[in-house]
């Protein structure tokens, strides 16, 4: 009999705590609208958003529309400059650069999104458990963080990369995700430390709410703004890291292409056959730039008062 009411209380506590963020639609909408209104005020951010939307359309619908496949070889044109037949020109072996760029763009965008999502989730879990539990958990997690700071993600993934040959690109996504969460985890850790002492967290704890629930329902939602912003910026970071690794052949493996491998192939002849290099390079820079602009505007919109951490 003693257990029954307790579980009921737990339920109530959770219900109450959750109410303002999920069940009360009016509250959520008005906050969302507020953020959206602030975001819209930044013209550069709206342009960036439009551009990214366009890139997604290009990357995913483009290959269905154009007549060339990224692997297909056109035996009638080798190293031709851009023309009406091949919008971005052709490569040494007669592949259509436009089709390849679309394919590379698609890969880079998917990888960026997946890695941004996974690495932010890892950062949230590692940082929050370290901050919430303290003690041995904290020491182990923080040691992991400093270890990964000592061994830059680029280096470890490069060392593991010989194993990537002939594997699915999802392994590459996994590697990128598990080695690029360190900085965010440190911020989550310090945010958790400041949230742990709040009354509602103590209340939930004393009422017997399990730690997992306290973290997922009370601590992480209260740093949602940071997590959203970090996930956005992690996307651009991941795209850069991916292209850097692929540039050296440590990432996406041929015959598949990403923007990094395309740039690497084009670099050697960047001056003589600029279309091999300029399109993929320009699009990479444009994507990273726009994602950063969106992340910046998002931070200003979600959290106008915070100027600290407003760096990147």
């Amino acid at each position: 009999m003693a257990i029954e009411p307790l579980s009921e209380i737990q339920h109530n506590v959770e219900g109450e705590a959750v109410a303002p963020t999920t069940t009360d639609d009016g509250e959520v909408l008005s906050r969302g609208r507020l953020i959206w209104r602030r975001f819209k005020r930044r013209r550069s951010a709206m342009v960036a958003l439009g551009f990214i939307g366009l890139m997604f359309l290009f990357a995913f619908l483009g290959p269905l529309v154009i007549q060339w496949n990224y692997e297909q070889i056109d035996p009638t044109s080798f190293l031709e400059p851009p023309s009406s037949d091949h919008w971005f020109g052709t490569t040494q072996i007669g592949q259509d650069v436009f089709a390849q760029t679309l394919r590379g763009l698609q890969k880079s965008l998917i990888i960026g999104l997946l890695v941004g999502l996974i690495s932010t989730s890892i950062a949230a879990v590692v940082g929050a458990t370290a901050g919430y539990f303290g003690g041995a958990v904290e020491r182990v997690n923080l040691f992991l963080v400093s270890l990964l700071l000592v061994l830059p993600d680029f280096l470890i993934i490069a060392i593991i990369s010989p194993r990537l040959k002939g594997q699915s690109w999802l392994w590459f996504v996994l590697l990128l995700s598990i080695f690029s969460w360190t900085l965010a985890a440190m911020v989550v850790h310090s945010l958790t430390l400041s949230l742990r002492g709040r009354e509602y967290v103590s209340a939930a704890r004393y009422m017997g709410v399990p730690a997992r629930t306290v973290i997922s329902r009370h601590i992480l939602p209260n740093m949602a703004s940071f997590l959203i912003i970090d996930a956005t910026l992690a996307v651009s970071g991941a795209i850069l890291l991916e292209s850097g690794l692929s540039y050296f052949g440590f990432g996406i493996q041929p015959p598949d292409v990403s923007l990094g491998t395309l740039i690497a192939q084009g670099t050697a002849s960047a001056f003589t056959y600029p279309w091999l290099f300029a399109f993929s390079g320009g699009i990479l820079v444009a994507i990273v730039l726009t994602v950063n602009i969106i992340g910046d505007a998002l931070r200003d919109a979600i959290d106008p008062s915070s100027k600290s951490r407003a760096a990147l």
Binding site: L149, V150, I263, T267, A310
Partner: protein, 327 residues
């Protein structure tokens, strides 16, 4: 304070050991030095492959732990082992370390100094034209990967060289091989080789620092103690630079340590693209050549450098922030 730094040094030592151990084992699992020999034509007999690999302690038939113990024993005596070709890693490293350190030193100093200057300037002129200019510049360069910047720089240098009719900028190697002449001519030659790689690595660094510095400075500018200092009769200039900037530099020390890893990765690209025989380029080559010892040695080098920068950041923090010194 001294105790704190010593404790940090001890932790750093543990981190270096764990990091290099991890790198060694990872490399041993993922790389296969043997494949270099197996692909040869005419085929090499297995016993001679074994002999060659054992001679450089990279034979995968020897248990990994045994190889590791041999390797660590060597490292503790200051011997990093041999490359797959049987050359001494120490000698090669002696040649390469200077090249990389020069790039990193110049990159981090210029990046930090100009980044801080631009950041402070942007913060003082918040939302004015110059602030927008600095912001646009930094957003642009933050989005540019080093391998893209480098090609653009090469292209620009090529145009300038062609239009002037002289070779003003070099973009291959760190010095003209076999060049003879006065000390001045040699130094000038080095300088001409240095400009482009330094720019490639520094521009992004400046952009990064200026963003951090701008926000750190903005945090400080609104604070009460600056108003108090001004109310007591200090000039605006003096309050900003003596009271404001000093405080705003404290969080920067943390970012300095964090961004150093990025700088090293950037240097790797720079070395590879401008054909500088440095540690980063060697690391990339070692992975392509499946050379475990070289990969481990270059990783050790990186780990030590990152920890050194963290240590430096701690010292800088202690210099800037009296609270750190007394606690």
């Amino acid at each position: 304070m001294a105790g704190y730094l010593i404790r940090r040094l001890a932790v750093s030592l543990v981190l270096v050991i764990v990091a290099t151990t991890l790198a060694f084992f990872l490399a041993s699992v993922t790389m296969s030095p043997r494949s270099n020999y197996e692909a040869r034509n005419p085929p090499v007999p297995e016993s001679s492959i074994d002999n060659a690999l054992t001679a450089v302690n990279q034979n995968n038939k020897t248990p990994v732990v045994e190889r590791y113990v041999t390797w660590v024993g060597g490292v503790l005596h200051g011997d990093f082992g041999k490359t797959l070709k049987g050359e001494s890693i120490n000698e090669e490293m002696g040649r390469r370390i200077g090249v990389t350190l020069r790039l990193l030193l110049i990159g981090s100093i210029f990046g930090a100094v100009f980044g801080v200057l631009f950041g402070v300037w942007g913060a003082l002129k918040q939302y004015q034209f110059s602030d927008r200019l600095v912001t646009a510049f930094s957003f642009f360069w933050l989005a540019m990967p080093v391998f893209f910047t480098a090609v653009l720089l090469k292209y620009g240098a090529l145009q300038i060289n062609q239009s002037s009719g002289n070779t003003i900028f070099y973009y291959t190697g760190e010095a003209t091989p076999g060049l003879e002449g006065s000390t001045f001519a040699l130094l000038l030659d080095r300088f001409q080789h240095l400009i482009l790689p330094t720019l490639a690595i520094t521009l992004g660094e400046i952009a990064l620092y200026s963003r951090y510095q701008r926000s750190a400075m903005l945090d400080v500018l609104g604070s009460d103690y600056l108003r108090t200092a001004q109310a007591k009769g200090l000039t605006r200039r003096k309050t900003f630079y003596k009271h404001g900037l000093r405080t705003a530099l404290i969080p920067m020390t943390v970012w300095f340590a964090f961004s150093f890893g990025l700088l090293i990765v950037g240097a790797t690209f720079t070395e590879k693209i401008f054909a500088w025989p440095g540690m980063g380029a060697w690391f990339i080559d070692s992975i392509n050549a499946q050379d475990i010892n070289v990969a481990a040695a270059t990783t050790l080098f990186t780990a030590v450098l990152v920890l050194f920068s963290t240590f430096l950041a701690d010292v800088m923090r202690a210099v800037l922030d009296p609270r750190v010194r007394t606690s």
